[in-house]
């Protein structure tokens, strides 16, 4: 499997706090990889470093064979490496359809395209993707009028609208009710299998991540603790001590 994302010995500290120390992660093209670890273990910091939200202090990051360590956020997103947010971010004053339309890929946008309207296919695709996440009936509502769980689904649909090569999801099932979670796992798998989108997922829900991921990285105190397939991670003594707890 060819590596799509490669993080090599990345370190990041804020003042005296070391959030990430010497972390190396590889995600292959077409894989679903999980990232777990206790609160404050540096998962989101690693995500932020990868997408260019803040530069790493040391180490390097490459995506699709291209060095992206020092690129800014929108540039990296236009390369097809997209992230969703833990707190869920949508455009609250715009309707769901507008949220979708504005999420089209922004690669190579020139002035003439900026000043044109979206072709009808954009609306069709928006509707199809809203249908896919189960929000079709809400499409004319404003983003801010949706419940938290629905906003999470909208954010997921917006990410798909952007046609990424790789999607980094920060706790996609947090705040979503149990019946909907099953549907979401199923959809994530379909996105991976049918659309070929590589997934890198932070998740606290062990049932979800064990079900979804083929490989899991576990962080603790800003360091990489363990890496391996779900069944190994689940029984790894260090992971059990630091995160899962003895049952």
């Amino acid at each position: 499997m060819t590596p799509l994302l490669q993080v090599r010995e990345a370190s990041k500290s804020f003042g005296g706090v070391t959030a990430n120390h010497d972390i190396s992660v590889t995600v292959g093209e077409g894989e679903i990889v999980g990232l777990i670890g206790p609160n404050g273990s540096g998962k989101t910091t690693l995500f932020n470093s990868i997408v260019g939200y803040h530069p790493v202090d040391a180490g390097s990051i490459s995506f699709a064979g291209r060095e992206i360590t020092t690129l800014r956020v929108p540039r990296i997103a236009r390369l097809g490496l997209l992230r969703t947010f833990q707190q869920t971010r949508i455009y609250p004053k715009m309707t769901c359809m507008e949220n979708m339309a504005v999420s089209v890929p922004h690669r190579g946008v020139r002035l003439r395209r900026m000043l044109s309207r979206h072709p009808p296919e954009v609306a069709e695709k928006s509707e199809a993707l809203l249908e896919f996440v189960g929000l079709y009936a809400k499409r004319l509502l404003r983003g801010g009028e949706l419940s938290f769980g629905q906003q999470k689904l909208l954010e997921f649909a917006m990410a798909l609208m952007n046609e990424p090569r790789m999607l980094m999801l920060d706790e996609p099932t947090a705040g979503i009710n149990p019946t909907l979670i099953n549907g979401l796992i199923d959809r994530l798998k379909r996105v991976n299998a049918d659309l070929g989108i590589t997934l890198f997922v932070i998740e606290h829900n062990m049932r979800v991540i064990m079900n979804l991921a083929t490989r899991i990285y576990c962080l603790a105190h800003g360091e990489l603790l363990a890496e391996g397939p779900p069944e190994d991670i689940q029984t790894d003594q260090r992971v059990v001590d630091a995160y899962l707890g003895a049952s």
Binding site: R89, Y91, E98, R107, H118, L140
Partner: protein, 362 residues
């Protein structure tokens, strides 16, 4: 937000055409119906333009600018220089002040100065917005507001100390040739219709702009800039472009205003931050930020109220105006358009019917 375009239903677009016709007819007839207040009517359109161009930043992009007055003032001065300097020694002219300001131009000279003056005013507004934009649009929220406030003061001070353009004692704009009552009437009509034309152009340009991808992108930046960046939107480019649109129209608007009031004081006419610089914000907020008709409604209410207060409550006008602001903020926090939208959503073309037929979004 209430936007034009395919999201509006049929009824709304028919209403829109009728509304435009009615407002258009009234606007053309107004100076003939009320010949005594043509100057106030011209300034009303100036108010409309500054409200709309402010709303592009504050309402659509979500950047509360207190510095838009800079482009307005720069437009006044650039146009003044181009209208005066080719015909007389600028230094002597400004040094002489009001007594010496006897610059008699022929009609050809006057119009030959005014036309390039307006073009240059547009250009300076546009260029300054781009230049300042790249520096200051990196600031967000309150920091941007404060930064733009400082920018306004900074530029005003430069002009207040620049001898060439009269420094603190200001500059007097040349007079349109012609004497007598009849020609006075023509002079005011010329600028009334120029202002009306510019206001119309501004409104229709912005109405179109807000229906494009550009419009959606600046709304996305307003709603969540971090998200917009994370989705690949080149936010800096869009922000600077939005400000340059404001600057373009504000530059011309300033040039027209300078010619209407004819005496340009750097701090009280051109860079009147505490006056016009705040009024443009008030009008947009009063009418409804981020809506297409909000700034127009705000300008009508504000300008009418202000003129009435200045006429009938002179001495207390600022107190009354302050009271008005408090009433607006308390009772219409979302502006008049927001208030209408909350009560009669269908009237502003808003559709929430979940079972509605599928319709095209932009």
């Amino acid at each position: 937000m209430n936007r034009a375009g395919p999201m509006r239903n049929q009824g709304a677009s028919r209403r829109f055409v009728l509304l435009c016709l009615a407002v258009g007819l009234l606007s053309v007839a107004a100076p003939f119906l009320f010949p005594a207040i043509v100057k106030q009517l011209s300034i009303f359109w100036v108010m409309v333009i500054v409200a709309y161009t402010w709303d592009t930043m504050g309402g659509q992009l979500g950047y509360n600018s207190f510095g838009n007055i800079v482009f307005f003032g720069a437009g006044i001065y650039v146009s003044a220089i181009i209208q005066i300097a080719p015909f007389t020694n600028m230094r002597d002219y400004t040094a002489a002040g009001e007594e010496g300001a006897a610059l008699t131009l022929t009609m050809a000279q006057y119009l030959g100065g005014l036309a390039p003056g307006l073009v240059a005013a547009a250009a300076i507004g546009f260029v300054l917005a781009i230049a300042f934009g790249f520096v200051i649009l990196g600031l967000r929220g309150h920091y941007f507001a404060i930064g733009t406030l400082a920018l306004g003061i900074f530029v005003a001070q430069i002009f207040a100390n620049w001898e060439y353009v009269g420094a603190g004692s200001g500059i007097i704009m040349p007079e349109l040739p012609g004497r007598g009552r009849a020609s006075d009437q023509e002079k005011s009509l010329l600028f009334y219709f120029l202002c009306l034309l510019l206001a119309g152009a501004t409104i229709f340009f912005l109405r179109w702009l807000y229906t494009t991808r550009f419009g959606l992108a600046i709304n996305a930046i307003r709603d969540d800039e971090d998200k917009a960046e994370a989705m690949g939107i080149a936010t800096t480019l869009y922000k600077v472009a939005a400000w340059s649109v404001s600057g373009f129209f504000l530059g011309i608007c300033g040039a027209l205003y300078g010619n209407i009031v004819r005496f340009v004081d750097p701090e009280e006419t051109a860079f009147d931050g505490p006056g016009l610089g705040v009024w443009m914000v008030l009008m947009a907020v009063l009418g409804g930020k981020g809506s297409l008709w909000g700034p127009l409604i705000g300008a009508v209410l504000f300008h009418a109220t202000k003129e009435l207060l200045w006429t009938y409550l002179l001495g207390f006008q600022n107190i009354a105006l302050g009271l008005l602001v408090v009433i607006i903020v308390v009772f219409f926090p979302e502006g008049i358009m927001g208030w209408i939208r909350a009560r009669w959503p269908a009237l502003v073309g808003e559709r929430v019917d979940a079972s509605a037929q599928s319709q095209a979004a932009r």
